[in-house]
Structure formats: structure tokens, C-alpha cells
Amino acid sequence: MTRPLVRIQDLTVEFGSGVQRVRVVRGVSFDIAPGEVLGLVGESGSGKSTLGRALIRLIQASAGSSVQLDGRELMGLSQGQMRPLRRQVQMVFQDPSLNPRQRAGDMLAEVLSTHGLHTGPARGPRIADLMQRVGLKPEHASRYPHEFSGGQKQRLGIARALAAEPRFIVADEPLSALDMSIQAQIVNLLIRLRQQLGLTLLFISHDLDVVQYLCDRVVVLYLGRVMEIAPTAALFDSPAHPYTQALLAAAPIPDPSQAAPCVHLQGDPPSPLNPPSGCVFRSRCPHAVAACADSVPPLTPTTSGRLVACWRHDELN
């Protein structure tokens, strides 16, 4: 296997202090290979965005966390040292993430000048090229964000990420604000860009359908912890972790001839302020036993590149 482009080890993020301290992401580790599209799924509040933001140092992770980009450790770097590296890691946000008072072209120019790319006369054509690459007309560069539709705004967001010519992009729910017909346009755009530019992508979503379509591997997060990591096909065909199973079962399939989704899980996810001891999922797990409360299950490799964090994995499968 090639060297991973991104290696995350023991990533932990905390918010607040004192009794209000919340650990939103707890000891997460995984690798992303060059050119891979990795899906990150999980319930709302499970820490997906936080993980993504900590990854590119938009928020500070706790001590002991490690994120390596192409072998280079990012965590110890100052914001000043980080700035040149930002060229290599970019983020696409959920709409709207555009400054309402900045023209589209100015926004792209800002990225270019921040990183000293395409200075002088080369800049105009580069901006036009970027606009075209994401399916916008170059003359739209002089428009303000509110003059674009939702889908176009998202394209602009992608163009901004591409402007820095990154190797790795974190896409945080880039589709959730969009209509179905527009979602498809963006998914197709992402696939095309990946093929053309060889991008590596961390794709955060809670739309399992899209993840299944787009991603090579999937990480399932629950209350800040990784439940399961598996190649997409394997995960969707035979989810190993009880949580993954419940998640897949709950998603309604847009086909009336298929079985209606069944309710696997009762109750709400616990508050991250006081998570259950041991396995964080045990309070809602249909298979939980007393032993699950004792200690945190490690992420253990099973068949075909799959990792599962469940004490009863062997019994249940």
C-alpha cells in the first residue's frame, strides 16, 4: 500500500472548560490514501465537522493528537507556519460560505494572492479557468454571491478550494443545502474533478445514498468515536457494527417496492456532556450487555480492510 496522504492519530477535540467541558472528538485515528475519497458519516452532533475543522487546524485539537500531511506533522505548527500549508489542504463548506460583499472574482483572486499564485497578467485567465472548471461562466466573476443560485454558490465554494491547487480537500456536507436535482450536478462535478486532478477527498455527509455512490471507504462516527471503518461496498452490503446496521436500516429507500425502513434504535443519542462509560453506543444498542459498560472497545481489524469497534463483534457476526 502507498504511503497515506493524511494520517490522523488519536485526534481529540474539546470545547469549553471546567464542568462544561465537552469532548466532541475522542481519539480518532485513520488514514487517507492519495486519490482516495473517504466518507465520514454519523448522526448530527457526532463530531464530523469538528473533526474536519480540527484536521485542517481551523480549531485547535487537544494535546496528543497528531495529523500528518504527507508525513509532515501539522499539530505543532503555528498559524503562521500553517499558512503556506493551507495551499495543500482546503475545505468546502456547507452553503452559504461566501462573503456577501465580495465579488466572485475577488474571492478567487484573494486565494491566489494569499498563496502568491498566478501573479500579474496570468491571474485573470486563471480565474476564468477556475470558473469554467466548476461550470460557471467566466463573466460571472463580477457578480456578488446573492446573484448566484444555491448550486452555483456551491460551485464557487469548490472553485475557491481548487484555486489553491490543493492535494487534499475536506468537503463538509457540501450538498445538504441543495435540491436533489442540483445535488446531482455537484456530485458529478466532484467526480469529474477527482478524475481530472487526482484529488484526495474527505467527504462529510449524512446522506448515505450519496456516500455510497461517491466514496471508496467510509468512516462511521458516533458521539465522537469511530464505530466502523470499511470499504464502501463492504459496509453497505454487510454492516458490521450494530450502529452502522441501525443507520442503514433507518434510511428510507426511494422505492415503494422495497421494505419500509424499520426502527432499530429507540431514544435519542446521549449528550456529549456525559457520554456513557465504555462503549458510547451501548445506551441505544439492541445488543448491549453489562460488559459493554466497562471499557472502550478498540477499533479492531476484521475481514477485508474493515475495522470495527464493538466488544460483541465476533459473537454477533
Binding site: R53, L58, R86, Q90, P96, S97, Q102, E110, H146, A164
Partner: protein, 280 residues
């Protein structure tokens, strides 16, 4: 461009706002051209003509030194408006900088805001009195004092907006791109909090007009022979019983201007109100 046109059209659609704007424009115009068009010299005293009731020659009568009140109101407009505008601009600028810093840099927040709280614990007129007594009575010192009085208010408003805007996705996006902090503040945050600041600008303008009058009344105003509306009203309180016009007309000038400014501020606020956006 179209955005602006729509905005202006919405603003003018309300008749009161239009009237207010016309009034303000007239005031400004008169202040600007007063020295060429006024029927009387605003500074010339004619002791024999003192305290004349309004008549054809003196529309608003004369004051205790026989000066034409109409001329003085228009001539004084430049001082009063300059004091109001100067205060508003300075307070808004200073307050914006302070609020921006406090809102953006967490380490600065507590110290700056405690200071702001302490300043705000003084009623503005008392603070004004104290500051003018320290600085001495002159128009520039009144502006300075009132600036100090109103800066904390702006700082609070700006800080609150900054706290919100700082967390908005597009600011985070800009950070993710690697945009430097000054640029983040200047390009991404500042322009987007200008709308509440604009509203503040017109309100503080109005408050400063009123405060200047109040200070003059209490005997700590701009002083000297500078004919601000405030000093005119203050001086007239001595003759108000016999020559009520000396009190009435400058007072009306203050009131109408302050009213126009507030209507304008309200209009701008309504304009920026997202609840009304749907209808445009």
C-alpha cells in the same frame, strides 16, 4: 448596482423617510451656503434691536444681542451639524475598532469590555459634563467628550456583531484559505457589520445634537460665542418668559434635525431588516 437602486427605492417609498431626508438635505445646504444667502449677518449685534418678536425682517425674531435668530440658526447649523457628525463619525470609528478587536481577539475581549461596561455605568450627560470640565469648553472638546461617551455604545454593538460574524462560515472559509488576520478583519468582517454601524451613526448623530444642547444648558457646552443650536437654546432660557421665540426656534431646529436623523436611522434599519427582504 441594482441592489443599491432597490435599496434606495425602498427607502424612499416611505414618505416620512423622504421628508426627513429632504429636511436634512435642506439643513446641510443652508449650512453650506448660509454666508451668501442669509438676510442678516449672524454675528452682528444690534443692541437697539434686541429681543424683537418675529417680524418680516426677522422671521424668528432677534436674540438678546439683537442678532437675527433665523440667520443664526442656519449659520449655527454648520457648527451643530459638525459637532453631531464629528461625534458620530469619531465614535463610530473608534467604537468599531474597539468592538472589532474585542469581538475578534478573545484575549482582548474581557479587558476591553469591562472598560466599556465601566464607561457605560455613567449616565451619558454626567460623563459629558465631567469630560467637558476636564477638557475645557470648545467645540472640538465637546466632540471629543461626546465621542468618549458614545464610543462604548458602538463598541458593544460592533462586538456583538463581530462575535456573530466571526463564526459565520465564510469567515471560516477565508481562514481555511489562509487569509491573513488583518485582511480577515478588514475585508471579511468589517464590511459585513457596517449595517448596524450605519444605523448607529445616524442615532449617535441625533444624540450628540441633543447632548450638546444639554451640556450648554448646564453651562458646560461649547462655550464662547459659537452659535450652536445648543448655546442658542441655553442662552435663551434667560429670556424665555419674555421672548419665547429665542427658545422655540433653535429648539425646533434641534428637534427636527434629531427627528429626521432618527427617522432615517429607523428607515435604514427597516431596510436592512431581513424580515422585509421577502417583499422586494
Amino acid at each position: 448596482m441594482a441592489e443599491w437602486r432597490v435599496a434606495l427605492r425602498t427607502l424612499f417609498a416611505r414618505r416620512v423617510v423622504l421628508i426627513a431626508l429632504v429636511l436634512l438635505a435642506l439643513m446641510l445646504l443652508m449650512a453650506a451656503i448660509s454666508q451668501w444667502v442669509l438676510p442678516h449677518d449672524p454675528m452682528t449685534m444690534k443692541i437697539s434691536q434686541r429681543l424683537r418678536a418675529p417680524n418680516w425682517s426677522h422671521w424668528s425674531g432677534t436674540d438678546e444681542l439683537g442678532r437675527d435668530i433665523t440667520s443664526r440658526i442656519f449659520y449655527g447649523a454648520r457648527y451643530s451639524l459638525a459637532i453631531g457628525a464629528g461625534t458620530a463619525l469619531l465614535a463610530v470609528m473608534l467604537g468599531t475598532v474597539l468592538g472589532l478587536l474585542a469581538g475578534f481577539f478573545k484575549a482582548l475581549d474581557a479587558p476591553l469590555m469591562r472598560g466599556v461596561d465601566a464607561m457605560m455605568a455613567f449616565p451619558d450627560i454626567l460623563l459629558g459634563i465631567a469630560l467637558v470640565s476636564i477638557l475645557g469648553a470648545s467645540p472640538s472638546n465637546v466632540v471629543l467628550a461626546l465621542t468618549i461617551v458614545y464610543t462604548p455604545r458602538v463598541a458593544r454593538v460592533v462586538r456583538a456583531s463581530t462575535l456573530v460574524i466571526r463564526e459565520l462560515p465564510y469567515v471560516e472559509a477565508a481562514r481555511a484559505v489562509g487569509v491573513s488576520t488583518p485582511r480577515l478583519l478588514g475585508v471579511h468582517i468589517l464590511p459585513n457589520l457596517m449595517s448596524p454601524v450605519l444605523v448607529q451613526l445616524s442615532f449617535i448623530f441625533a444624540y450628540a445634537l441633543l447632548a450638546e444642547a444639554g451640556l450648554s444648558f448646564l453651562g458646560v457646552g461649547v462655550g464662547a460665542e459659537i452659535p450652536t443650536w445648543g448655546t442658542m437654546v441655553a442662552a435663551s432660557t434667560q429670556h424665555a418668559d419674555r421672548a419665547v421665540w429665542t427658545l422655540f426656534f433653535p429648539g425646533m431646529a434641534i428637534m427636527l434635525t434629531a427627528l429626521s436623523l432618527q427617522i432615517l436611522g429607523d428607515g435604514v434599519r427597516d431596510l436592512l431588516d431581513p424580515r422585509l427582504k421577502g417583499s422586494t
